[in-house]
């Protein structure tokens, strides 16, 4: 069975039904004929929007980690909390493992996801393949389920309410930047489809073999 005969086939990751991959309706999605699992979402076959979103997410995530997410004022005292400070405080209180959990899910995993996507997408958009492409792609797929920025947002809201009863707690710039990052990551995941990444990848590799696409631009890629 050659690779080409599988080109228009798709396998449901939840029920293993082998089916024909119909064209995804514009702004719609494709679901499994048997178990209704979402198989493919519509996504533009250009990388411009995902690249722009990833760059913006990188900036907002940087801001989110430099400025405090929350500030607590009590009489003349003032306490700021960034996520890194929270991790450090957990470590200082002897709950290092909880700190590691917070660090991974709210700082490291999102940072790795954003940086990794930029590493993959920017060169692809410019017409070449980044080193370590395939291993990084696999790593990003594994990391993505451990990004919990949206849960952190809700956590800050709960903390604000809990502290509101005893002192003046306020949201900081970091919180708004976290919110922006959350929004951008959501938009990014809905505007980016793995198959588009691989279609670009294939076009770039073909271009390098000297068979097509000599002007360095990758256009008209069908996913």
């Amino acid at each position: 069975m050659s690779q080409d005969s599988n080109a228009n086939m798709i396998v449901c990751h939840e029920c293993d039904l082998l089916q024909h991959a119909d064209a995804v309706p514009r702004r719609g999605s494709l679901r499994c004929a048997r178990c209704d699992a979402p198989l493919l979402r519509w996504a533009s076959d250009k990388l411009d929007v995902p690249v722009a979103l990833a760059v913006t997410a990188a900036v907002s995530f940087l801001i989110a980690n430099i400025f405090p997410v929350m500030t607590l004022e009590f009489q003349a005292l003032r306490m700021d909390a960034t996520m890194v400070a929270a991790v450090w405080q957990l470590h200082a209180q002897g709950e290092t493992l909880v700190g590691v959990l917070v660090l991974v899910t709210s700082v490291l995993a999102p940072a790795a996801l954003i940086a990794g996507l930029l590493w993959l997408l920017l060169p692809l958009r410019l017409g070449f393949r980044a080193p370590g492409f395939a291993p990084l792609f696999r790593a990003l797929m594994a990391i993505s389920s451990w990004v919990m920025v949206e849960v952190l947002m809700l956590g800050v809201v709960v903390a604000l309410v809990k502290l509101g009863h005893m002192a003046s707690a306020s949201a900081g710039i970091g919180l708004w930047a976290f919110g922006a990052t959350m929004l951008l990551l959501t938009l990014l995941s809905s505007s980016l489809q793995g198959s588009v990444i691989w279609a670009y990848h294939e076009a770039v590799m073909r271009g390098r073999d000297g068979q097509a696409d000599v002007d360095g631009k990758v256009v008209e890629v069908t996913s």
């Binding site: 069975m1 690779q3 599988n6 086939m9 798709i10 396998v11 990751h13 939840e14 029920c15 293993d16 039904l17 082998l18 048997r34 178990c35 209704d36 699992a37 997410v69 929350m70 607590l72 009590f74 005292l77 306490m79 909390a81 400070a85 929270a86 991790v87 405080q89 957990l90 209180q93 709950e95 493992l97 909880v98 700190g99 959990l101 917070v102 899910t105 395939a134 291993p135 792609f137 696999r138 797929m141 594994a142 389920s145 451990w146 919990m148 849960v151 952190l152 809700l154 956590g155 800050v156 809201v157 709960v158 903390a159 309410v161 809990k162 502290l163 005893m166 707690a169 793995g194 691989w198």
Partner: protein
């Protein structure tokens, strides 16, 4: 072709596995496992079914069940105010929120910290029994249950973040301070373990079992 036949005859005829094909779990490429043990496109190891899916799922699940006890009994947070220390478990924190008038947030935290972890543990047991013994529901419903488990899993981290933030902000020495408790560690571990359990579970096994049963009856 003989090797492929031996490999795949145990799978229902509608499945990709019965033809020796699988969808790469990382990039979605349809790959023949007879010809490849790694995806030719992205290099992931390819298997017809997740290796040791049920064993790994049970192992993570049992570990999560055990840690669920200290997660709920140990304090996740200790508040020291003017020398007096008050310990809060997850449930007492929710009750405190409710009593201070924030009933809406109390409901959200209750769902994230009590309903979701417990529901996830139960749902995974239902899914595992459905594969190994007898189906406790129709396959589409079980599929939907699995999707739900994957979707809501991470929201239980809510309380861990709240504790981390309070412990960082409330540090006014003798007047008032908040310390994270060991309950937070156990609770965080439950969240991670149930997520790993859900990731280990292979939903395709439910459909395999269902069709094998249907064939046996026919």
């Amino acid at each position: 072709m003989n090797a492929a036949g031996d490999l795949t005859q145990s799978f229902p005829p509608e499945s990709a596995a019965s033809r020796g094909l699988t969808g790469c779990h990382a990039c979605g490429q349809v790959v023949s496992v007879v010809e490849h043990d790694h995806c030719p496109r992205c290099g992931s190891a390819v298997h017809l079914r997740k290796p040791l899916s049920l064993t790994r799922c049970w192992a993570f699940l049992i570990a999560a069940l055990i840690l669920y006890v200290p997660a709920n009994l140990l304090p996740i947070m200790e508040t020291t105010s003017l020398g007096a220390t008050q310990s809060n478990t997850i449930m007492s924190g929710i009750i405190l929120l409710w009593n201070t008038g924030s009933w809406d947030l109390a409901v959200i935290v209750f769902v994230a910290s009590m309903v979701v972890p417990l529901g996830k543990l139960l749902a995974l047991v239902v899914l595992l029994i459905s594969v190994q013994r007898k189906p406790l529901g129709a396959a589409p419903q079980l599929s939907r249950l699995y999707r739900l488990v994957e979707l809501v899993g991470k929201w239980s981290m809510l309380d861990v973040y709240v504790v981390a933030l309070l412990a960082t902000l409330v540090r006014f020495d003798a007047f008032m301070s908040v310390h994270a408790g060991h309950g937070a560690l156990a609770f965080g571990a439950v969240v991670v373990l149930t997520m790993l359990a859900a990731q280990s579970f292979d939903p395709r096994l439910m459909w395999d079992a269902l069709q094998r049963r249907a064939q046996g009856r026919a």
